[in-house]
Amino acid sequence: MLNVENLNVAVADEPILKGLSLQVNAGEVHAIMGPNGSGKSTLANVIAGREGYEITSGSVVFEGQNLLELAPEDRARQGIFLAFQYPVEIPGVNNVYMLKAAVNAIRKHRGDEELDAIDFLKLVREKLKLVEMKEEFLHRPVNVGFSGGEKKRNEILQMALLEPRLAMLDETDSGLDIDALKVVASGVNGLRGKDRAIVLVTHYQRLLDFIVPDHVHVLAGGRVLKSGGKELALELEERGYGWVEQSVSPSAETAL
């Protein structure tokens, strides 16, 4: 479904991703872990189409299509979704207004009829229940004044509405209390299916207790250093990242 090959990305001439490769098949859940600053968000952002990154070489192919040549909105319409590590506040734009515009843009692209206000409200109410958000959040400006946890729930609400094929969650679990964590997990698990794939960027095993991954990758120094099954996450939790980095490249400095 998603094939990232030998991806090299720089920001302001500073290389950040250095020959990163990753393959995600439909139906799978992948967890990406790794030390701060290793390039996890960079990878997710590049896949979602955020500007400001210089792609020096490599490819990102989604369902046979070269993602790198698509505008961010076209990637979203193809089914890519990124729950941002730091969701943006948008004063003056009601949450419900943005959600409806997004759902209808994607429906239109798929050739479905756009939803009117009443049908949309029905749909969004259903999803609000799923993420246990109060309806008042619909009528507040996007993320403005939301607590950290509320912003993360709002990302999951968007994911639930847009039903992406590939959902990437960038540290959506960070800063969540246990109830919110369960909400995020049930949102993600509700999306799991044989046609969809999920990529979780996380620092904590805690999330992976609720969303059990098929594959775990360690990203460090801009590359995937090690991949394994769900046990790898447990091992990382116990031993940190140092041993991975040393076992792969004895000359590498200990990062943690």
Partner: protein, 443 residues
């Protein structure tokens, strides 16, 4: 092609020939003559005058406009219907090039104690009524256009809301540039008086019948007595070839309140002056403004709030959206006179530049002669938040729609202050329509 350059003298000559109402009324003759002398002395504005530094009126002086002092007979009912605000129930006066069109006006059911009338009619019938009011809220040294308006005083709206009356419907004053291709100059002169404890809402709308060149030089005076409240909405949406100079001059009594919202949607050169004198304690003024500039148009807002008394409050927020090669000027002046302690004043001007060629000059000016005051001001000129654009796009919303949504949200902060639902929806629609495709600024 002759590049005729018109001067104050041309308008003084036209004034002498004009058939103005109530000539021979002593006090009015004196005022008109004083205004003539003022205009003679100061002339039409030039960039050498500090208040006109960034606004060159050459496009206006390239033609000599023909001042209108009597009815042209225009009374196009169909046009009026086409510009009706859906669902808005109002008392309405309609003016064509500054002169009342009685057939199109309607003030049925007006409560006792309220006057809504033509200034010309009052001057002819009972001019003494206006003697102490007309001109009383004007700046002490008005610019040439205001002086010109005062030297004519042909017609306009006179509103007097009696003591304690809460007017049940808004008053809609529609000023139409009615004559096509004739370089007409309409100079409505309005007077709005809120007696103690009264409440009213007034909408001034400036519109054109066709895409023609015209000049409007409108002056509205507002006098609020103790405890009076007025909501004043001024919407300028004339043809893209029109020139518009407008003034709102107000003086506020104790505990009175003025909420004034000025929305400029169209016109080739627009200059709005606002002067508010807070003359007694407890007076409050809230000035809001929104200007949308496109093409090569030029929009200039000059506001001056004067705290003459202690414990008065002023708030001001003007927002501008500039596209193409348009230009905007904002000059917000606040004066706190000696003795005006416990003044509470805030001013803010925010501009959104959607094009690299658009330009804005924003200038706050605080003059404070009292020591126990709270005054703040701020101005910003910026572009859309690119992180917000990306956020919307990453949810599938197309780029131009995303930019439109964010631009509209910027305007929303002003529009949402308009309490009349029908008016707000109408303006919201106008703004959306004009912002429907906001392209990316390559910077």
């Amino acid at each position: 092609m002759s590049q005729a350059v018109s001067t104050a003298e041309d308008y003084l000559a036209a004034q002498r020939l004009a058939n103005l109402p109530a000539v021979g009324t002593a006090w009015l003759d004196i005022r008109r003559n004083q205004a003539r002398s003022l205009l003679e002395g100061v002339g039409l504005p030039t960039p050498r005058q500090e208040d006109w530094k960034y606004t060159n009126i050459r496009p206006i002086t390239r033609s000599t406009f023909d001042p209108v002092s009597g009815s042209s007979g225009w009374n196009d009912q169909d046009f009026l219907e086409s510009i009706q605000l859906p669902g808005l129930n109002s008392y309405r006066l309609v003016f064509a090039d500054g002169i009342l069109v009685r057939e199109l006006s309607s003030c049925d059911g007006l409560p006792a104690g309220v006057t809504i009338a033509s200034v010309a009619e009052i001057l002819r019938a009972d001019s003494a009524k206006l003697e102490n009011l007309l001109g009383s809220a004007l700046p002490t040294s008005p610019h040439g256009f205001t002086a010109m308006n005062s030297s004519f005083i042909a017609d306009g709206a006179y509103l007097d809301i009696g003591p304690g009356i809460v007017l049940d419907k808004p008053v809609e004053l529609v000023f139409i540039c009615a004559c096509a291709g004739e370089d007409r100059l309409g100079m409505p002169r309005n007077l709005i008086v809120g007696r103690p404890g009264s409440h009213a809402s007034v909408i001034e709308r400036y519109l054109s019948v066709v895409e023609a060149r015209s000049l409007t030089n409108a002056v509205s005076e507002v006098i609020l007595e103790e405890d009076a409240q007025l909501t004043h909405q001024r919407i300028t949406d004339e043809s893209s070839r029109s020139f518009h100079v407008g003034g709102l001059f107000a003086r506020l009594g104790g505990d009175s309140r003025l909420d004034a919202c000025s929305i400029t949607l169209g016109g080739s050169l627009v200059r709005n002056d606002v002067l508010v004198n807070l003359d007694a304690s407890g007076a409050t003024v809230d000035l809001a403004g929104l200007y949308l500039a496109r093409g090569r148009c030029h929009i200039d807002n000059h506001t001056h709030v004067v705290h003459n008394s202690p414990s008065a409050r002023s708030r001001e927020l003007y927002k501008g959206i500039l596209n193409d090669r348009s230009r905007a000027v904002f000059h917000g002046r606040i004066t706190v006179q000696a003795g005006a302690q416990q003044t509470d004043s805030e001013q803010n001007n925010q501009n959104l530049l959607l094009s690299r060629e658009a330009e804005v000059d924003t200038k706050p000016q605080l003059e404070i002669y009292a020591d126990d005051v709270k005054c703040s001001h701020g101005a910003t000129v910026g572009q859309l938040d690119e992180m917000a654009v990306l956020y919307l796009r990453s949810r599938g919303i197309g780029e131009s729609q995303a930019r439109g949504i964010l631009t509209h949200a910027f305007a929303g902060e002003i529009l949402e202050r308009i309490e009349l639902d029908n008016l707000r929806l109408h303006l919201d629609h106008c703004v959306s329509h004009r912002l429907s495709s906001v392209e990316r600024v390559v910077s």
